[in-house]
Amino acid sequence: MTDNGSFYQRDRNWHPPAFTPSYKTSILRSPQQPLLSLENTISELTGPVFGHDRIGPLDNDLLRNFAKTGDPIGQRIVVYGRVLDENARPVPGALLEFWQANAGGRYRHKKETYLAAIDPNFGGCGRVITDEEGRYWFRTIKPGAYPWPNGVNDWRPAHIHFSVFGHAFAQRLITQMYFEGDPMIWQDPIVATIPDKAAIEQLIAALDRQNTLPMDALAYKFDIVLRGRRSTMFENRMEGN
């Protein structure tokens, strides 16, 4: 049974709604008209492909890909996992791009003004393409929490941003990864845009002591699920009638 049909509809109760007043910026940046539901056409069922040759050897090594004088400051970690679809099948060849703050919670961006120090050895970006079994991994430092202007004293929990390309543009996704055991997760207005606690937990990477690199780095496992496709077994039969 192959999955070449249209995608399962996005569960809009699992995703955050567009209008989430506790995250103030969403107030003026949320459509108010209903989205137009569109059965997938070839325009949504296709998507760009990124070959492994696009990726450099240090692209998945945030400890080294920007370093000037030595390793960046911070807790060394490995983040690994698989990209799957909703049918629990691996998604090979998925491009993951990720970005994060440094150990002090400071981003390297011209518009960033937080007073925590810039780390001269940390750029904060990386990318990787999943292998035949949908697996990926990269090396980095654990990002710090940081304050942000929303309420007067709102803080983001430590997190890593992920951008994901599956096999179709309908699967395009941007999300964030959080860290197991972080009490800051549950006070964050951006996390709280997700209404369902189980959905939030899907974004919390598990500390994996079995895969910790001894005398080197902690390991966190973070699986990402993209939309799954209906079986064409049914769709083809329907068309024949």
Partner: protein, 208 residues
């Protein structure tokens, strides 16, 4: 107990935040040396088939202000209406046209700009042809889930009038929010496509 379906849930979306460029366009925010060139900046080469066009526009919030931090991606068919994707089973797309582009909105003006080609027509599910269009995807701070829409072309009136997707828009007054207007600039057909996230001119967004 019934049998289990063993389906997973899609990972929930979270906003791209204000610093999405660090991950997608690091060179643009002066994080240089990590990789040579940011992906998606160039769509068209000398060998690409099709009519050269420019598409450009701005993204507006509900107060009418321009988003300076938006990131725009486009996905489109080649000049013959074929997608450069393994999922494309109808033929082989132009090998010199990937069909995917990505541009940050300008930090000062909020304008985005793509140099691309005009796509050919592709079929709807039932085989009728859709009008030429480009899929557009917008993320930014404050957008919790990336917004999908489509750009259509003002000089394709006949095709637009018979496009089964445009026909599905119940409020006909909203159809023009998807139609980019053509003008000539520097000898190139230039289509302006402004995106209004909210308000009276709110763009039609799709749940695809």
């Amino acid at each position: 107990m019934v049998q289990k379906l063993h389906l997973l849930k899609e990972s929930p979306s979270q906003t791209a935040g204000p610093y999405v460029h660090i991950g997608t366009n690091p060179n643009w925010v002066e994080i240089t040396g990590v990789w040579q060139e940011d992906l998606g900046l160039v769509l068209v080469g000398p060998e690409t088939k099709g009519e050269r066009i420019v598409i450009r526009g701005r993204v507006f919030d509900g107060a009418g202000d321009t988003l300076k931090d938006a990131l725009i991606e486009i996905w489109q068919a080649d000049a013959d209406g074929l997608y450069n994707s393994p999922q494309e089973k109808r033929g082989k797309a132009d090998p010199n046209f990937v069909g995917w582009g990505r541009q940050p909105a300008d930090g000062a003006t909020g304008e985005y700009r793509f140099e691309t080609i005009k796509p050919g027509r592709v079929p709807y599910k039932d085989g009728r042809l859709m009008a030429p269009h480009i899929t557009v995807w917008i993320v930014a701070r404050g957008i919790n889930t990336g917004l999908h829409t489509r750009l259509y072309f003002s000089d394709e009136e006949v095709a637009n009038a018979e496009c089964p997707v445009l026909a599905r828009i119940a409020h006909k007054a909203r159809v023009p929010t998807l139609i980019a207007t053509r003008a000539e600039e520097n000898g190139l057909p230039t289509y302006t496509f402004d995106i209004h996230i909210q308000g009276e001119k709110e763009t039609v967004f799709f749940d695809i």
